[in-house]
Amino acid sequence: MLRASLRQVSAALKEGRVAPTELCQRCLALIKSTKFLNAYITVAEETAMKQAEESDERYKRGQPLGILDGIPVAVKDNFNTAGIETTCASNMLKGYISPYNATVVQKLLDQGAVLLGKTNLDEFAMGSGSTDGVFGPVRNPWSYSKQYKEKSVPKSHSEESDWVITGGSSGGSAAAVSSFTCFAALGSDTGGSTRNPAAHCGVVGLKPTYGLISRHGLIPLVNSMDVPGILTRCVDDAAVLLGSLAGHDPKDSTTIQDDFEPFELPNLTDVSKLSIGIPKEYHAPGLSSEILALWSKAADLFKNAGAKVVEVSLPHTRYSIVCYHVLCTAEVASNMARFDGLEYGHRSDMKDSTESMYAATRREGFNDVVRGRILSGNYFLLKQNYEKYFVKAQKVRRLIANDFVKVFRSGVDILLTPTTLSDAAPYTEFIQEDNRTRSTQDDILTQAANMAGEQGQELNCFPLPSHFTCPVPLGLPAINVPTALSERGLPVGLQFIGRSFQEKQLLTVAKWFEKQVQFPMIQLEEVKRHDSGVFQHQKSASFS
């Protein structure tokens, strides 16, 4: 039953076939026995059980709060959780207990979800491997799957050194969902940090439109691009999470004012009215031939089903990585300025002066990656450099956004692209290149969606359709759908990008595609041992 979808298990709870406490206990037990994955930084056993007990009571009274009542979930450790440590996988916040809940966390709790714990990530969400956090790297559950073990030739006799990465930076959340320890997890997505690990871990990863979900309580990386990400086992589940999290938050001035209507996804049967765009520039250098072939096959799938499939061009794609780096590091330098050891977090013992205390605290608290980005960002923000780099990058960002506008205006409904360049790399290979190089390569397919939008005119880049601001949306919705297994037996996903605030259309198409490809379920020994036979799914036909 741990392998069921969120909707299925919710129905089981409602029908009394399983109790929230039982579900919670099983998840906690599975977390323990999959500890080697290092997906969780903090497991909140006591509070989770308490929440489960309260959920029990509500079900007994026949008054569940909704579809999420009693559902075990996990949250990336860069979301504030009151009373539970929030570390961002950094020495700077080790031991930091926030006094408040992020809005999205509060919403989950208000609907009765059971918060199992905080998941692992790259330090302060900077990275694409979930390997650069202070608590160590996250291991991809697929490393231990039957499918991987059968297909790949082990480099050594030890499982220890053959494991592959989850991707990042929301690797812990992706691994948690993938290994069935929770039914949904929150990640964050700035340049692909939800979709990338989703692709590598074979789960659905949704990045909603910027401004749809509140960022209050999400410790920011790039305020103008960050979005809370949703990781689930299937597209329908993602729609459920979206429905429970989206909507205006007065505490976050960048959320749109318009009311959000939660929706159920229709079962699309006729795709003939659909126009799918294939951006040719996404045939990026380094794209594996496997994924290229899969991408092509997917396009054919739509074509054969009657949809219009057209090649489109997003000519400024090749500038987007550089542009993203300038804007990202600049905001990082700014956002990290608050970590001085004075009000909270790590404080150095250095006492010579306030300045020396600041310097020592920040050197001790941040890893190389964070410090590197702060230095770069400050460089770009210097008065003499601001026009050359920051303003230039904003202008390029507008050009990138206009590329998408043009394409969507020409009649294309959804864009179909790869999510990653290849399947998950073995850890030993991955760490041979530095974080910056890796991010440059890995983010290439995902970060344009964070920067793009329709009519991105403002240099200030983020307006929303509300009274106080200009009516221009930004930050397109995008989703990773697990598609097939690679030759090595590892998941490969494809990405769909939609129009701003058109999540319903995006998810409807994604759901249709998911149904067509019938991505196989991961076969993990540990899970078999923990699971009862109620919901055993054996997906036979697969798309590869």
């Binding site: 330098a333 700014s334 400050n378």
Partner: protein, 456 residues
């Protein structure tokens, strides 16, 4: 020696009078226990976001309108970065690129001579008004080698009023700031009490020879009153002139005013050139204001800020009030300045005028010469006056009806000042100050005096 032209550019920070801070809901209150008015956002807890306080925007719009500025219908927020113990986020949210109001002017008046008999009107151009956060306070405890940080003030809304360098001496600066203070207090947008830090003035001072380019300027800070503002500026002008005439140079530095010594000294804490690495504030959308023309049909003034709506409801500014006083009561313009300069004095004057038959032109003398000098002597405010407007009105009636002489009236006034609760009539009776009106009685007294003289 060629004449020197001093140039003074004032930067004024006025704390906005509001219940809560500019971007968070914590309270604004003077002298509260340390760190008792600090929200999560004020403490810069990670993940917190700014939410703009509508009242602060309205205060800035009112102030901009009162200073004849153009209100920018779209203005932006920026981050200004520097590290300091009283700045928790490591940056201040301000408006550097596009502030809320620009291109205004402030008119103020000066007395040409010391007798307050001739006033001249001057103007100073307002470059811009911007909304920004105040910082917390840090106290250096040298004995224990530590810095104590109080964040109560961190995040309180400020209006920074930047003036063009149109002022040329301490007296002008003082008059301009005084007028600004009165305007802010009339609007209610700031209580502008310098002693409580609600109004802070920095002066940029330089000197040059007319026709030549501007000289190097210094920034003078730490000025706690309008009186010290004039002193500090005049001292600094003099210091610069002397320095240059002796062949020295002026450093582009920040100097503090030492009120005890009456001079400016270099501030050791301020480093030379700071690069603030300005960046747009990504968590705040552009601030959009409307006027009646641009207001969308389905919106009312409660949902958005309508500049015209605010304009219609502005109270009479000091300059208008003064004009009205002069027109209504026939007093001199200089008188109207003094009336408005003392909190409550204009109301006191009008109250006395109502009570007495004496002409306002005569009443004003009693207000400005007698009442005011007594108040100043005893360091009292108008509200604290032991002589109420009613009592003074009654006294002036006795004088007007010629029941007492003017000398006697002054004696009665001195007696009233003791605040023993006696009415003017009672004092007159007690001290036998009543004027004799009886002709025959007067003749008898005079005769007696003459007779007395002859005997000697």
């Amino acid at each position: 020696l060629a004449p020197w032209a001093p140039v003074v550019g004032l930067e004024i920070h006025a704390q906005i009078s509001s219940n809560s801070k500019l971007f968070s809901g914590s309270q604004v209150q003077f002298a509260a226990p340390p760190n008792s008015l600090v929200s999560f956002f004020d403490a810069s807890l990670p993940g917190t976001l700014p939410v703009l306080n509508r009242r602060c925007v309205e205060a800035a719009v009112m102030t901009g309108l009162a200073l004849n500025c153009s209100i920018n219908k779209k203005s932006l927020f920026d981050r200004k970065h520097y590290f300091y113990a009283d700045l928790p986020a490591g940056y201040q949210i301000t408006q550097q690129r596009v502030p809320i109001a620009v291109n205004g002017c402030l008119s103020y008046s000066l007395c040409i001579d010391s007798k307050m008999s001739q006033m001249v009107t001057k103007t100073v151009r307002i470059k811009q008004i911007q909304l920004e956060q105040d910082s917390g306070k840090s106290l250096h405890d040298d004995t224990r080698s530590q810095t104590l940080v109080d964040l109560n003030r961190a995040g309180v809304g400020l209006m920074e009023v930047v003036m063009e360098p149109d002022v040329c001496c301490g007296e002008e600066a003082a008059a301009a700031v005084r007028e600004l203070q009165l305007i802010l207090q009339t609007l209610g947008s700031s209580q502008a009490v310098m002693a409580e830090g609600q109004l802070r003035v920095d002066a940029n001072v330089s000197v040059h020879h007319p026709g030549e380019p501007y000289g190097v300027r210094t920034e003078v800070k730490n000025i706690n009153s309008i009186r010290f503002l004039a002193k500090a500026i005049d001292y600094e002008i003099q210091r610069q002139i002397e320095e240059l005439e002796n062949g020295g140079t002026i450093l582009n530095e920040t100097r503090a005013f030492d009120s005890k010594l009456g001079c400016t000294v270099p501030m050791r804490d301020k480093e030379g050139k700071q690069d603030y690495r300005f960046m747009p504030e990504p968590n705040l959308p552009p601030l959009i204001l409307y006027d009646t023309k641009s207001l969308p049909a389905n919106m009312n003034h409660q949902q958005v800020i309508n500049i015209d709506w605010i304009h219609e409801r502005l109270p009479d500014l000091p300059s208008v009030k003064r004009k009205k006083l002069v027109e209504k009561y026939g007093i001199l313009p200089e008188h109207s300045f003094t009336l408005l300069n003392e909190d409550g004095l204009a109301e006191f004057f009008e109250s006395v005028v109502k009570r007495t038959q004496m002409k306002p032109k005569k009443v004003i003398g009693w207000i400005l010469n007698d009442l005011l000098s007594y108040l100043k002597q005893h360091s009292l405010t108008v509200k604290e006056s032991p002589v109420s407007s009613f009592l003074l009105g009654d006294l002036l009636n006795l004088l007007e009806k010629k029941e007492i002489s003017s000398t006697a009236a002054k004696q009665v006034f001195a007696e009233l000042w003791k605040g023993e609760g006696k009415t003017p009539l009672e004092i007159v009776k007690e001290q036998k100050l009543g004027l004799l009106q009886d002709q025959k009685e007067l003749e008898q007294i005079c005769q007696a005096v003459i007779d007395g003289q002859e005997n000697e």
